[in-house]
Amino acid sequence: MSVTVRIPSPLRPLTGNAGTVECAPGTVAAIIDELEANHPGFRDRVTQDGKLRRFVNVFVAGQDVRFEQGIDTAVADGQEVTILPAVAGG
C-alpha cells in the first residue's frame, strides 16, 4: 500500500535529491506529516498555519486539491501526488 509523491527540484535537497518518495495512502495532510517525519523541514516549505501555501500546488491523481478538499483531500493506494511550485525559467 503506497502512493508516489513527486518532489519538485527545489525541494529535493530535503529528500536526499530523490525525485519521488513513497508514502502511505491517507490524506494530503497525512502524507505531509510522513514527509516531515522522514525529511524534517518539509512541512514548513509547503504549509503555513495548517494550510497549503498559496504558491504550492498539490495534485492528487492529476487533480488540483484546491478544487477538492485542500489539505484534507484523500489519497488512495496507487495514486500519484505531485507537488508543484511555479517555475519561471525560460
Binding site: R6, P8, S9, P10, L11, P13, L14, G19, G41, D44, R45, Q48, R53, R54, F55, V56, N57, F59, G62, Q63, D64, R66, F67, E80, T82, L84, P85, A86, V87, A88, G89, G90
Partner: protein, 396 residues
C-alpha cells in the same frame, strides 16, 4: 480503326448533357447550384474559376472524386477551359457510376466572356508551394492553413532557451511576422541551449541575433526586434499587435504581466517554463479555459523558484519545451487539434516521463474570475514581496 480525339468527344456528348453558363450562373446566384468540379491544371485554376467550384485536376479525378462527392446520385457539373477536357472527365465520372453529371458548355472561357462572376483564389507562389509543400500535404494545414500562417503574427517573449527553438520553427513554418522581445545580449554561456545564436554573435542583442538566423532560414518572415523589457507601460501596445504570445520569459513579474495582458487583449498565451531536467507547458485561452493565475495564484519565493542561471538547465530540454510551444502556437493560429488549454504538461527529462495535470478555471481568480479587478499590477514589487512576507524561511 482506333477512335480519334473527335470520336471520343462525340461519343462523350452522346451521354453527357451540356449546360449553358447563364443557367448555371442563375442557379449559383440563387444558392441552388450543383457541385462544380473544375478539372483544369493548377496554373489555370489560379487565374480564376466559377464561384464555389472545387479544383480537382483531371489527372487526379478518379482518385479524388470520392472524397468530394461521396454520393453517386449527387448532381455534378464539370468545367474546364473550353468544355472538352471537362466533357471527357464527365464521361469518366459517368463510367464510375455517377448518375447525374453535366458539362459546362464552352467552359470557363465562355463563362468569363458572358461576364458571370469569377472567383480568383488567393494563391501561394511557386516558391512558397515548394517551401511549404510538406505542410500543404497535411489535410489539417493545406494551402489555406499555410496562408493563414503566412498572415499570422507571433510575439515571442525572450529569444533565449525557449524562444530560440520556438522562433526557429515558427519561422521555418512560415509564420508571417515574428516579434522578438529581449533586452539581453548573447553571452557565451547561452550557447549551450540558445541555438538560434552563434559564437560570432556574442555581445549582440538577442533579438537582432535571432533576426539574422531567421533571415538565413526563411527570408520571407518579417521579424520585429523589440530590444527592451516588457513592462506595464509597453505590454498592451506590444501584445495587441500580435495573434499569439509565446511566453519564454525568465522571471515571474514578466510572466504575470503577460498573463494579464493576454486577458486584456484577448490574445492566447502559450506557456512554457524550464528548470534543470523539468519543463512545464500549457495554453491559456483568454476567458475560454484557465489563465496563468488560475494555476499559479502567487509566485513562489526565490529559494523555491531558482532561475536557470542559479540552478542550471539541461540545454536540450529547451529544445523539447520550446518546440512544444511552437507546436501549440501553430495549432492555436490554425484552430486545429486539442491544445494544452486546461492541462499542464510536465516533462521530466531525467525520468523521460510526460505527466499531465488538470488545470481548472478558478472562480476566485484575481485575474479572470467574475469578480476580478483586472489591471496591470506592479508585479516586480509583488513578486518580491509575496515570497518574503509569508515564507517560513526554512532553507532547503
Amino acid at each position: 480503326m482506333s477512335p480519334s480525339y473527335q470520336d471520343l468527344i462525340a461519343a462523350a456528348r452522346e451521354v453527357i448533357p451540356e449546360v449553358e453558363p447563364a443557367d448555371v450562373a442563375s442557379r449559383v446566384a440563387s444558392g441552388d447550384g450543383p457541385l462544380i468540379i473544375d478539372v483544369r491544371e493548377t496554373a489555370e485554376w489560379d487565374q480564376g474559376h466559377l464561384p464555389g467550384a472545387v479544383h480537382i485536376p483531371r489527372g487526379f479525378l478518379e482518385s479524388r472524386i470520392g472524397g468530394t462527392a461521396p454520393d453517386s446520385d449527387q448532381e455534378i457539373l464539370v468545367s474546364c477551359a473550353s468544355g472538352q477536357r471537362s466533357l471527357l472527365s464527365a464521361q469518366t465520372l459517368h463510367h464510375m457510376g455517377f448518375t447525374n453529371v453535366t458539362n459546362l458548355a464552352g467552359g470557363f472561357a465562355r463563362w468569363k466572356q458572358n461576364n458571370h462572376p469569377v472567383e480568383v483564389p488567393r494563391i501561394l507562389s511557386a516558391a512558397q508551394r515548394s517551401r511549404y509543400s510538406r505542410h500543404i500535404l497535411i489535410p489539417e494545414v493545406g494551402e489555406e492553413g499555410q496562408m493563414k500562417l503566412l498572415d499570422s503574427k507571433a510575439l515571442l517573449i525572450g529569444a533565449g532557451g525557449l524562444g530560440s527553438p520556438a522562433a526557429y520553427y515558427l519561422a521555418a513554418a512560415g509564420i508571417g511576422t515574428i516579434g522578438l522581445v529581449d533586452d539581453d545580449e548573447v553571452d557565451e554561456s547561452n550557447l549551450q541551449r540558445q541555438i538560434i545564436h552563434t559564437t560570432d554573435r556574442v555581445g549582440m542583442n538577442k533579438g537582432e541575433s535571432a533576426k539574422q538566423a531567421i533571415a538565413a532560414l526563411n527570408p520571407e518572415v518579417q521579424v520585429n526586434v523589440h530590444p527592451f523589457r516588457v513592462n506595464r507601460d509597453n505590454v498592451l501596445d506590444l501584445v495587441s499587435q500580435y495573434d499569439v504570445i509565446v511566453d519564454g520569459a525568465d522571471n515571474f513579474p514578466t510572466r504575470y504581466l503577460l498573463a494579464d495582458a493576454s486577458l486584456m487583449t484577448k490574445t492566447p498565451l502559450v506557456h512554457a517554463s524550464i528548470l534543470r531536467f523539468e519543463g512545464h507547458a500549457s495554453v491559456f485561452n483568454p476567458y475560454d479555459g484557465p489563465c496563468y493565475r488560475c494555476l499559479f495564484p502567487e509566485p513562489p519565493p526565490p529559494d523555491l523558484a531558482p532561475s536557470c542561471g542559479e540552478a542550471g538547465v539541461l540545454g536540450v530540454l529547451c529544445g523539447v519545451m520550446g518546440n512544444i510551444q511552437a507546436t501549440e502556437a501553430i495549432k492555436v493560429l490554425l484552430g486545429i487539434g486539442d491544445t494544452l488549454s486546461g492541462r499542464l504538461l510536465i516533462y521530466d527529462a531525467l525520468g523521460m516521463t510526460f505527466t499531465e495535470l488538470k488545470v481548472r478555471r478558478d472562480p476566485d481568480c484575481p485575474s479572470c474570475g467574475p469578480n476580478a479587478d483586472l489591471q496591470l499590477r506592479d508585479y516586480e514589487a509583488w513578486c518580491a514581496g509575496v515570497g518574503s512576507h509569508d515564507h517560513a524561511g526554512v532553507s532547503a
